[in-house]
């Protein structure tokens, strides 16, 4: 059931789900937040604080890297891993994975749990890792700006 929900998220690439990063207006990204635990609240906080601004697609709106960012915020268990992979596979075009928080980075507080995936980079290529437990909303923005730098030099 959970992996179905992830699929739904991955397929709903409507303009309302695109964001611009405050302070970097040229950057337009579609963030698919795979919010699996407490870290997801910080992503919500970034949006309500205006750090991530919903993009109004239309003429005159600058286009940036125009990539889909799969933002994995929370604990990925081995049971849930196939669902995350399916969300990743459902993205067409340019895509980047951002690992947000200790659980997604390495397993974090659950590093010794037999059921938790020890970092989502075991499943898919991660472009940017954001440390924190949870990271603050500002750290998400810093991570996304880092993503722009990474992709610009790549």
């Amino acid at each position: 059931m959970i992996s179905l929900a992830l699929m739904e998220v991955a397929e709903r690439r409507t303009p309302e789900r695109a964001y611009r990063v405050a302070g970097a207006p040229a950057l337009r990204i579609v963030v698919l937040d795979v919010g699996l635990a407490c870290c997801a609240l910080e992503v919500g906080a970034a949006i309500t604080a205006g750090l991530l601004v919903p993009d109004v697609a239309g003429p005159g709106v600058p286009k940036g890297i125009d990539a889909t960012v799969l933002l994995i915020s929370g604990t990925v268990t081995d049971a849930l891993a196939p669902g995350v992979l399916r969300a990743w596979d459902a993205i067409d075009g340019a895509r980047h994975a951002v690992s947000f928080g200790a659980c997604a980075n390495t397993g974090g507080p659950y590093w010794d749990a037999p059921t938790v995936t020890k970092g989502i980079d075991q499943l898919l290529p991660v472009t940017v890792y954001v440390p924190g437990c949870p990271p603050r909303p500002e750290a998400l923005i810093a991570g996304l700006l880092r993503l722009v730098d990474e992709t610009a030099t790549a």
Binding site: N105, P109, Y129, G132
Partner: protein
């Protein structure tokens, strides 16, 4: 917007650290690594030289760190402190591991050095 006391990142004051290993052993995620060696120092007036620990390396893996603050709370010498920095994303998991050079830079300005 971000308060000075925010738990953004952990700073280290190497001159205050005695390499006692308490933080390393109490860290729930085993994300602190410390290397040290001992040296004998003779102090003027002292009868025998005393043995001290010399810190060689101190690394925190912020990919694993669960920001619990146990290390900061338990350090008997106040050599660790929270700092509000948040811009520490990396392009590899290994890039989240930081050693003395970075940790000393994160020693918070609001926290006077215990050595002072």
């Amino acid at each position: 917007m971000i308060p000075d006391e925010a738990h953004g990142v952990i700073g280290l004051q190497p001159s205050a650290c005695t390499s006692c290993m308490i933080c390393v052993r109490e860290c729930p995620t085993w994300c602190i690594e410390l290397e040290s060696h001992t040296e004998e120092v003779s102090e003027p007036g002292a009868r025998r030289p005393k043995t001290i620990n010399v810190l060689d390396a101190f690394r925190i893996d912020f990919g694993l760190c669960m920001y619990c603050g146990i290390c900061v709370d338990l350090c008997p010498f106040d050599a660790l402190a929270w700092s509000p920095g948040f811009d520490h994303a990396a392009s590899s998991a290994g890039g989240l591991v930081h050693g003395i050079n970075e940790l000393v830079n994160w020693w918070p300005a609001t926290n006077p050095s215990p050595a002072d």
